[in-house]
Amino acid sequence: MHDLRTAGATPPFPAAPPPPTAGDPAPDFELVANGTATRLSSLRGSPVVLVLHNPEWDPARREQIDAFNRLLASLPAAAEQRLITVGAAHPWLELEFDTSRVALPVIRDDDGSIAQAYGVHDTPAVFVIDERGIVRWTHMGRTPPREGDIIAALTSFAARDEPRSSSWNRREFIATVLGVAASLTISPRLAVAERIAAASTAPGAARAVTLNVNGRQLRLTLEPRVSLLDALREYAGLTGTKKGCDHGQCGACTVHVDGRRTLSCLTFAMMHEGQQITTIEGLAASAGTSGNTLHPMQQAFIKHDGFQCGYCTPGQIMSASAMIHEPWGAADSDVREAMSGNICRCGAYPGIVAAIQEVRANAADGEHGQ
């Protein structure tokens, strides 16, 4: 590639076409799917949702995950397997949840040609393309679209397209996320490839991180500065762990790391590869309970009214369920001291202490009985 920086006054790219609007044919481009090169046009027969985003609009962020969860929930289960599998060399964000799995294939638009073809420069954009390759709905702007809008767009053209409606409905589409990480340039005059190269070597660049959360391997793409708390809430979609003070003073963010209670706000996610992380979502399973049975500490909090508004409760329960394995004395005052890192603004402390003491007593009985 010639050095575009020496190109003088000549713009590095030809003038960009305007973005396609409803009714326009979707510009074709090459992508790697299922390990082989193919083209967008080869996907005809199924609608495609194309999302172009820059790093600030990460598809793994919570609102995106929630949107895709709801999208997938409206599909038959088989649709999950119809997501395009992008070549292994590309980023592949796979997120597992208790009942669903969200796979977000990301194709890097390294030379900026896809963004160029779709007239996208500096804002995220969503294009809903119908099964004949016609753009049916677009969204551009800093605010993410609502998933309802995307479903509505799919539904509307599914209903209109008589010839295909009998063999196809909105539940049978390939939800494809095509990301162009770092390639939607603020200044289109800068060489896109160079910007990507700079981004991938810059200090603090995001990289793949595998976290074991609640017994599942989560592959996330995170910058070093992402706290374990933010990784859980904003990237993995596990919002049971709460953000209170974000400074280690309230305990709302308490999780277990290798069985020990830990403040997820005061540690970076990257530091915990290879460790077992348990959140409130996985607490019951970690104790060996199955189905819909709650952890004994959860049950005790309910029984003893150990909460009012509930915001501190996940942290209280995670802290309590680890504290009972620490060598504290038997008195209520020991419980209060041991739990002093968890603040409850509603003042549910008497119920919290009672719940913990009951679980400790039951555990002691169980040990005596063995």
């Binding site: 200090p203 020990r260 970076f268 002093s340």
Partner: protein
């Protein structure tokens, strides 16, 4: 939070070399560093993670008996592991108590021994980047001296800084004459604990004698310390608060006479405040109220209170008297 480069290391030599560069910070438990980075007080461009090293080299996280009777605390051992260790509880009660009276259960599970003694002050002017602070920005002034200074120090202060050293553990270690093992770019060395920290004088940004690239690898607790010891901490609430005043004391009393004494104060000094004056006032005296009060007067003789923290002079005296009374009972 600003962006930074994350560098995990699994080798001490590599850690020292990496840490010797400007704008780097080591991270172990992270309970101080992450907090201060989120506040914008700490702005490293590179964060060097010592936890991989800790998992690889067990000696860095172990509590181990030395042949001569000393006890070695691995610098990357967590506060909770050291606090609950049977040998620490039996032989160094003041260390166990200082640890268990500090922070919260979660923080103690994360924070390490080495990190604990290097934690930064809780002075609100240091933690607020919109305020003047000679420790954070040398030459910018001190907001606390003419401002709100109820929590600030009364011993070891200077015209530039009155920030209190926040560690409880460090006060116990100062009383014990512990030793600090340091690995630096030019090899290993041992520093007496009481010489690890420095008073602010004209350079409050300098808090210890450590040099760039230095990693604390272990802290040794001496043998033969007075048998009875305690750490007494007084604070605004019953738990999870920094000391307004604290006392780490150890006494040997036989036949009603004090044979040996160790005294250090917390919550009142710009560094963990060992008090040889108080010790001299105790040794050879009868273990009674008069001796304890004389020790307290000696310990606080040089106190320099400011507008809001004059109460600390009397509070520290009473804290020390009560600790001495309890440990000699």
């Amino acid at each position: 939070m600003i962006s930074f480069d994350y560098v995990p290391v699994d080798d001490l030599r590599a850690a020292s070399a990496a840490g010797a560069h400007a704008h780097t910070r080591f991270i172990a438990g992270g309970t101080t560093l992450v907090d201060l980075m989120r506040l914008g007080v700490e702005r490293p461009t590179t964060v060097i993670d010592l936890n991989v090293l800790a998992r690889k080299d067990a000696s860095l996280t172990a509590v181990s008996d030395l042949p001569d009777g000393r006890l070695r605390l691995g610098a990357l051992a967590h506060m909770s592991d050291v606090a609950w260790d049977r040998r620490v509880r039996d032989r160094y009660a003041l260390v166990s108590e200082a640890l268990l009276l500090a922070a919260s259960g979660q923080v103690r599970n994360m924070a390490t021994i080495g990190g604990n003694v290097l934690q930064r002050t809780r002075c609100p002017y240091f933690r607020d980047v919109t305020q003047a602070c000679n420790k954070r920005v040398p030459g910018s002034g001190c907001g606390a001296i003419a401002g709100r200074n109820r929590e600030q120090a009364i011993l070891g202060t200077s015209e530039q800084c009155i920030a209190t050293h926040p560690s409880d553990l460090a006060v116990a270690l100062a009383a014990l004459d512990a030793h600090v093992h340091v690995r630096g770019t030019s090899g290993e060395r041992v520093i007496p604990f009481t010489r690890l920290h420095v008073v602010p004088d004209a350079h409050p940004d300098r808090e210890t004698v450590l040099r760039p690239g230095d990693v604390i690898t272990a802290i040794d607790l001496p043998s033969g310390i007075p048998a009875r010891s305690t750490y007494l901490k007084v604070r605004d609430r019953a738990s999870f608060a920094f000391a307004l005043a604290s006392a780490a004391v150890a006494l040997d009393v036989s036949g009603g006479t004090i044979r040996a004494a160790r005294v250090a104060l917390g919550g009142v000094g710009t560094k963990p405040w060992r008090s040889p004056e108080a010790e001299r006032a105790l040794v050879g005296k009868a273990a009674n109220d008069a001796a304890f009060h004389a020790a307290a007067e000696a310990a606080l003789a040089e106190a320099r209170p400011h507008r809001d923290n004059a109460f600390k002079v009397e509070l520290a005296k009473r804290t020390l008297v009560r600790a001495l009374t309890e440990v000699s009972a």
